[in-house]
Amino acid sequence: MFLKKVATAGAFSLMATASYAACDIDGRVSIVGNEFPAIQTVGKGAQECAGGVVKANLTADHQKINVAGMQGDPAEYTSAIIANSSIVALMNEDVIRPLDDLVAEHGADLKPNQMITIDGKVMAVAFMANAQHLVYRKDVLAEIGVEPPKTYEELLDAAKMIKDKGIMEYPVGGAYAAGWNLAQEFTNMYIGYDGAFFKPGTAEVSINNESGIAALNMMKSLSAYMNPDFLTHDSNATSAEWKAGNVALMNMWGSRVGPLTETEGSTQEIVDNTAIAGPMTVGGGETPATTLWWDGWTVAKNVSDEDAEATFKAMMHAIRPDILNEETSPQAVWLIDGYEPTDAAAGVFDAAERGSVPYPMLPFQGLLHTALGAELADFMQGKESAEQALADTEAAYIAAAKEKGFLQ
């Protein structure tokens, strides 16, 4: 058993020296994160390191265990892979450490835009970006003689024409599943109408206003062109509808576009005609109705400096330029040096260039998101008015924010 271990360790170090960027660490590395393909690539990259134990627990439940897993002393997880929405949970509990020293020592390869600085301190290193944007069917739009929509109003017109011509019964797709997805769509739309979620500098919510009502009404109008089961469709189900050729227009995550252009599970006709464009605006606004996201990694506070250093080195190794190849490049819009944007990345780049807003990194945004996800479904089903749904959301948020100490 011991011999075998030595043998594998030897093999690893041989491999490591063979590839030009060797990774030798001296400490314990344990990563927790979500499980989609790009993060799997990063996890594998970190596990190439030799000299210490590198473990990766990549699971859909990562948000339920990462805070508890970093609160122990020493923390079980030395690194958590998170997004701009989920870093706040770690910040709120104060379980991640500033990385400035480590960046100075080992982070020469980092581009400035990869560093997430909060109050002047680097708290995370981002490696990929994401955003929702338009995906459309070239052939269907050609058939009705319409350019790809730039606004949601144009999208509604196009959807009406497709339906009236009898090409598709439910031409619009959208991840409107009650819960996180529905809240995300509202967030996009509300931003598109230039809405502000909170009174500046406070945790006091204000969404029951004209922008909120307009956003909800737009979502309702869109849902009329969606499959009647839309409240159960998450982005997996919406992608499946697309692949089955039931949908011609949808607002979809950039990270999901790659798989849509593979014939497996779809037909050549659909794949050839799948095209993407930037996010749409709504209600004559300038800001696209979408949010920008990044995914990145952090280092735990409650670990020894050696382990933190080992973690930093292993994670740097995991996002070095040579992880990019034909297989990994289309997995995400990488923020890594040397990344050549693939066709699938055009939508996210367009979103960033046109001045879209990042998803707010506020300590209490998650509570509002949860409240929106639970309370807006009644409106979407026509059970209550937009004002009532927004008032309910505000009330649910206030109760939650009081419990968490954000409001008194």
């Binding site: 948000q63 989920s86 997430i116 945790a203 949860t370 649910a396 419990e403 968490k404």
Partner: protein, 341 residues
């Protein structure tokens, strides 16, 4: 049995339950009585791939001082229990004052998450439990009259709904009842309505969840009743037959009384499990139409910011709910117990 002997016999199981259920229960109750500290904010500049922005963040140093002072958080008493996410006392009072009819009052109350979840939970429990007992009994009687070589196979297939894990079972069923799946298409054909979708209407979603609930837990009732049938007192049955009792009378006066303690047992367990209904709601993505108390806990714990106190309060309310619902059965058990001793 002497106290001392009893103690040693009971110690291992008591330890397991104390450590892993009673202690967590104490911490759940405590948690539900505290809220987090007041969070001190500061506005800072955050920078990332998409530029810099002024954003609010928690002033960790100031908050840490508060936190060190009182590590448990801020004493809240029953405040969380009374807030809108739970019993919504003030809101219900306001609804009572502002509504002029019972209908208006109820529709306002059902807008609060706790009460809308309670409405589904109770409906689910009171519909599924009896149906499951009746179905389980009928299957048990039916299977009991089969040839013995068939029984083993039949028992295995009857257990399948209970065996296939709810999470995966409902995933596959979820697809079958899609308007384009085999069952969904079948139902559309049956009702001659090509636009019928089980997932799009609240009423149909409730029915679907309940049908699933009965389907999933009938095997439990079946196994227990089937075993009970094996112990029917032969002599009572025979004398009933000699007295010319019809088949129905035999079931009514011999079999059912014999199985009665089992019915209590199954009802107790089923009511409890159905009151905690959770997995089908997640599996069927049904939260837009139906929520349960356990789902609220799941939702509180599943967000970006976990609401531990809110989840703890809902858990305590669930336990109280179960205790109230089971109290008639418990009172009866208490009486039986006293008679025996």
């Amino acid at each position: 049995m002497k106290h001392k002997t009893f103690f040693w016999f009971f110690l291992p199981t008591a330890l397991a339950m104390l450590l892993f259920i009673a202690l967590p229960l104490v911490s759940i109750v405590t948690q539900s009585l505290y809220t987090a500290h007041e969070q001190v904010f500061k506005t800072v500049e955050n920078c990332g791939p998409f530029g810099c922005k002024q954003e609010t963040t928690i002033d960790q140093e100031a908050t840490a001082a508060l936190r060190d002072e009182k590590p448990m958080g801020k004493w809240a008493g029953a405040q969380i229990y009374m807030d809108r996410g739970h019993l919504a006392v003030n809101e219900v009072r306001a609804a009572w004052r502002s509504s002029d009819s019972w209908g208006a009052f109820l529709s306002q109350v059902s807008n609060f998450p706790f009460y809308s979840a309670l409405a589904f939970t109770l409906t689910f429990m009171f519909v599924v439990t009896p149906l499951c007992i009746i179905l389980g009994f009928a299957i048990a009687v039916g299977v009991n009259s089969l040839h013995r070589h068939l029984k083993g196979l039949v028992i295995f297939f009857s257990l399948l709904p209970m065996i296939v894990t709810p999470l995966i079972g409902s995933l596959i069923l979820f697809w079958m009842i899609d308007s384009r799946g085999i069952l969904g298409s079948g139902i559309q054909w049956l009702f001659d309505d090509p636009n019928l979708s089980l997932k799009a209407s609240t009423g149909l979603t409730w029915i679907m969840l309940m049908v699933y609930g009965v389907w999933h837990s009938a095997p439990f009732a079946f196994v227990v009743f089937y075993a009970g049938l094996q112990t029917l007192p032969q002599d009572t049955l025979e004398s009933a037959q000699i007295d010319g009792a019809t088949r129905w009378q035999q079931i009514r006066y011999v079999v059912i009384p014999h199985l009665m303690p089992l019915v209590t047992f199954v009802a107790l367990i089923q009511m409890m499990d159905n009151f905690r209904v959770f997995e089908p709601i997640v599996g069927f993505n049904a939260s837009a139409h139906a929520t349960s108390l356990s789902w609220i806990i799941f939702n509180d714990l599943g967000g970006e910011t976990r609401q531990l106190s809110a989840a703890a309060a809902t858990s305590v309310l669930t336990v109280i709910g179960v205790a109230i619902l089971l109290s008639p059965v418990l009172v009866r058990t208490w009486r039986d117990f006293n008679e025996k001793t």
